[in-house]
Amino acid sequence: MTHYGMAIDLKRCVACHGCTLACKSANNLPDGVRYNNVLTDGGQYMDTARGTYPNDLYRKYYPVSCQHCENPACVKVCPVGATYKDPETGVVRQDSDKCIGCRMCISACPYTGVRSFNWEEPKYSLDFPVGDYDAPQHVKHTVEKCRFCYQRLAKGQTPACMEVCGAMARHWGDLDDPDSEISQLIATREWEQLLPEMGTKPSVYYLI
């Protein structure tokens, strides 16, 4: 069995937001919708630092999208199975044709802000679709989130954010295969996961 996962090297990430944009274009995301966010663990605004100069001032970033949990809170609560775990790959997928827009999954997911609702008819800044020809459909009043670029995985490619990361901070692979690059990294590097106490068993690791 395959269990896809991602490891993001926080020592390498320079917060260029390239992954966010690659994701937006590959998945043809509507205006205002982002699957991936590069969060600033710092002050009040993006790119502000925490601490005081010259003592302990620092800036730190967490690129966050759906954690593709092994024990996903969102899947359990969806009344119609519109969000579901792919048994072949471990990817938590989303069916925009099924979602009834109850937003139960948004409140169940412990990871603030990884799920987003299309609050109106999707609008695009370009008048032609961009990205993969088989990018997901975006349906008004349904919930969306990162699907680990399932359309790309199906073609043997990696998620779009992987391709574009200039700092090469992102690593991708099969967590079930002990010889994969990602398994090796997790075995040798120090890492943390977001909100492990929630028991969701995320498939995204942050190398620190």
Partner: protein
């Protein structure tokens, strides 16, 4: 007879006003669907709002009527002077309103049928939909049987059996509604085993208060005759329920605050943070209602109605605390690129967005809410006017 006609004319007029509101509500709901829910105050980080608050509240209100009328029947105790039918009807109207609030909150109501085609029976929301449907049908069956019983067409045993089932179902409906929130480990404020029992106690408070106020009102209007002893009995029950509800609140606050960790944040948010007005209104209002209900000298009709209103509004404030409070403390409070769909009051940094109430309803939500309320009022008034809901004889259970 003339007076009777005038009375039901009053009810019909009130019902008609409700119906007009309901129609206006439907028009605005259509606008919400066509123009998009971006017109509401809800956003990704506070993804539920007034509708789900009102849903919780109305599920609670509906309990009281059913419980008040079924407890005496179920346990063979002396009842409340024949108000059973009015009480059951009230709870049917409230259940309809509760279902209405879920429907207006959905993004894709035309896909509702999927709930039955692709039901995920592991989802608390699915449980709630099933229990609510059963509850509504059961209340209607109960009412029909009760009417037949009064006409001597059904045995008392049958009424007893249905009352017991209705009672179990009423308790279940509240627990399951609580579990929609209480089983979410991601929200510190919601994730507590106490939430189920606490929902039941709050439901008993506002439900009893509603039936008591309604009875005093209908009696003053001459719709039914009711001995003051029954009102006093209800007041005492209300007092007991309020005491239990406040006790639960105290237990929950203590358990959150004592370890001093993230739970203390929850307590701060309620006691002195953005939710403080709702918290203190609930606590003080409920204490006043409690005092009015237990001090014999204060049990005058006007004051009792006032106490009921305070108790009902108190529970409403509690629903607001629960709903907004769940979104008020983010698990990942890091700064982000903002956008039009992120959060209701964004743009001024993390602390500013979370330092005030994270959510406030937009005008369209008020109008749609008014519409659903109108529907309930219309049902209630037309039912009172046209169904035979008056007590059969003076003091029958």
């Amino acid at each position: 007879m003339v007076e009777n006609a005038k009375r039901s004319r009053g009810l019909v007029i009130a019902g008609a006003i409700g119906a007009v509101l309901a129609v206006i509500g439907i028009v605005f709901w259509m606008m919400q669907l066509s123009g998009g829910m971006v017109q509401t105050g809800m956003r990704n980080l506070d993804s539920w709002g007034l509708y789900i608050t009102m849903f919780m509240f109305f599920v609670g209100l509906s309990a009281g009527g059913l419980i008040i009328s079924s407890i005496p029947n179920a346990f063979g105790m002396e009842g409340f002077g024949g108000i059973s039918k009015v009480a059951i009807w009230t709870s049917i109207c409230c259940t309809v309103a509760a279902i209405g609030f879920v429907v207006v909150d959905l993004g894709q109501p035309v896909r509702l049928w999927e709930l039955f085609a692709y039901s995920n029976l592991g989802s608390p929301l699915m449980w709630d939909i099933i229990v609510l449907a059963v509850y509504l049908i059961l209340s209607i069956v109960y009412l029909v049987f009760y009417m037949r019983y009064e006409q001597g067409k059904t045995s008392h045993a049958a009424i007893r059996v249905i009352s017991v089932i209705a009672l179990v179902c009423a308790v279940l409906v509240h627990s399951v509604t609580a579990w929609i929130f209480g089983l979410q480990q991601g929200h510190e404020f919601w994730y507590t085993a106490l939430l189920g029992p606490w929902f039941v106690s709050s439901a008993l408070v506002c439900g009893t208060a509603l039936v008591m106020a309604l009875c005093i009102g209908l009696r003053a209007a001459g719709y039914l005759a009711l001995d003051q002893a029954y009102i006093v009995k209800m007041a005492k029950m209300l007092a007991a329920f309020i005491a239990v509800d406040l006790y639960f609140f105290g237990c929950d606050l203590l358990t959150s605050a004592f370890p001093g960790g993230s739970g203390a944040e929850v307590v701060d948010m309620l006691v002195s943070g953005p939710l403080a007005p709702f918290f203190w209104f609930e606590v003080i209002g409920c204490v006043i209602a409690l005092v009015v209900c237990v001090v014999p000298a204060l049990r005058r009709n006007g004051l009792l109605v006032g106490a009921s209103v305070l108790a009902i509004l108190g529970i409403l404030c509690k629903r607001v605390q629960l709903l907004v409070g769940g979104f008020q403390i983010p698990n990942i409070p890091f700064a982000n690129v903002e956008g039009p769909y992120a959060i209701t009051f964004g743009g001024n940094g993390v602390d500013a967005a979370y330092g005030q109430l994270v959510y406030a309803p937009a005008p369209i939500e008020w109008v749609v809410t008014l519409g659903v309320l109108g529907l309930a009022v219309a049902l209630l008034c037309f039912g009172l006017a046209y169904l035979n809901l008056k007590p059969a004889s003076s003091a029958q259970a």
